[in-house]
Symmetry: C2
Subunit: 352 residues, 2 copies
Amino acid sequence: MSAPSPGTRSARPTMKDVAALAGVAIKTVSRVMNGEPTVAPELAARVHNAADKLGYRPNLTASSLRRGDRRTATIGMLVDDVANPFSAALLRAVEDEARQRRVQILIASLDQDPERERELAITLIDRGADGLVIVPAAADQSYLIAERNRGTCVVFLDREPRLLIADAVVSGNRSGAAAAVEHLISAGHQRIAYLGDSMAIATAAQRYEGYRQALERARLEADPQIVRFGLRTVEAATQAAASLLGQPEPPTAVFASQNLVTIGAIKALRQAGMQDTIALVGFDDFPLADTLTPGVTVIRQDVQRLGMLATQLLFSRLDGDASPARTHVVETTMVVRGSGEIRPSSVLASAG
Amino acid sequence: MSAPSPGTRSARPTMKDVAALAGVAIKTVSRVMNGEPTVAPELAARVHNAADKLGYRPNLTASSLRRGDRRTATIGMLVDDVANPFSAALLRAVEDEARQRRVQILIASLDQDPERERELAITLIDRGADGLVIVPAAADQSYLIAERNRGTCVVFLDREPRLLIADAVVSGNRSGAAAAVEHLISAGHQRIAYLGDSMAIATAAQRYEGYRQALERARLEADPQIVRFGLRTVEAATQAAASLLGQPEPPTAVFASQNLVTIGAIKALRQAGMQDTIALVGFDDFPLADTLTPGVTVIRQDVQRLGMLATQLLFSRLDGDASPARTHVVETTMVVRGSGEIRPSSVLASAG
DNA sequence: CTGAAAGCGCTTACAG
DNA sequence: CTGAAAGCGCTTACAG
């Protein structure tokens, strides 16, 4: 038989091989492979037979090179860290939407490194991505202006771009954070701590703004002593929360602005045995939040919807939608589970 | 100026454009871009200037088409579900290793669908992936034989391939599971339940085998009444665990063979108020396992190492390593946190 | 050290 | 309905 002997590396068959076996021109093979109807059924059958016999599959690289659109049915996605549950859920949502279009995903983690954002965005474009979905790490996306002029579509997810006008899909960060803090205030709290990520991250800044607004509306003073920024890991958040608890005037409630920070706060509260004494509301839901005791009250983001909308938007741009860029806001919902409904203990309340 | 007016889509410059501007042949541009040393410094400088002025970047698709190796510096990865923390951690480990080689990742989720495995493996190869890292869902990988003969390298991760001889990197599933069950036995348990995924999944089958072996060595009978297979979601595991607890002769300990199953078991135990009465050891660590009360004793897989080894292996194959394929086993470690050290209550022990 | 010609595998544009 | 020629942007193979 003509099967390769073991260890032999047979080259991939090309259209030329199929054409030779079927006794037609390669243009006819091309027509059949692309499902063009203007081929005599008899010829088409011969081509299909030959292709099957050889195990032929078209070389997408070559066809995309020659075709006008240059599309590869691949999009790139840049996230903070695929191992973070929020990033992973976004990726999954984008993947599900892309699958319906038979589009594949190139993924990379930025670890909040602005330089890596630029480098990887360019790299994915050069690898042939038709468009990009970016959860940005940099403070400036103007480096993409030239790329966009050359036809690459970009949609931002979770955080808006800066110095670049482009579509974005974000959560209602300010309103969600304000709702969390108002919830704590209505439970009687007057001394509410804020634990959050760096203010250089747009979402963190917006959530802090919501915290401040809620305090202001209730005519409560914001005490910088119980505000901590720049928390990115569970460990950092645990330490920060522990230091709050050790203060002369500890807070009676904590607002944690991100899932890893919430987990850190929980650890610190439990280490201090205060999980039933100090109230906690976290921004962003996480696995087991309902199983801990007390259950953790959170502001839930509609991650599925965030990813889906961003992907749909990207495809509509790739399909030629030239309407002005805009930011789509996906509102959050509060999930009440217990930790956010703890009332201030009378001792602390009278002290504060 | 020659800058495009706003809204104009300027085509991407090619080597031809750079060559024209620099006043050289495109072959010279090619030499400069590929860092070949045999170019007069003066010409090289002219080419660099022209390339910078035009914002030229080589078209990788075109170069890979013409080059002999056909490499794209992209690999494909297929996992169960990127939103699952285990899959996400594997992806991150592969990404970190690939980054050192400046290789990008195409990712897709299989949701344990065998057909999707075949379809996506082929799709990623057709999209130009140089090699694949696969956490397989199908019971048969022979569909890859033809692909491998054509030069695609494949490494399996977490589960070995079947009907295909290829490299694999897996955890010590049997020994890890046996260690978990022996740990429970040495705490005095004689009636230990098994909660696990479908036996069609190789890792699940191996973990069940470890469970059986440990019981056998201790001359304990395996009671099918307290064994549940086919659990894939937290909800299914919660229900299964609850049904165990409602039995006339409930187990005094539970071995859960996977992270989602462990979480389901925890939920059921807590709903029944038995989390301090019935012992639990889970296979695979998960976030917050140390923060729950009691802490959850687990068999930890070295996920970082699994992903790293698989990726290194893939690159060594891509670099031409032709040694016989083999399976690398990464051993697990036990993390003792409390839930696995609960002793059987005397009432139940005497009843059992 | 530099370049003109041919070709990677396909599709476009054009003839018949 | 079918095919021969040219070309996508690059690199190989060869000449000078």
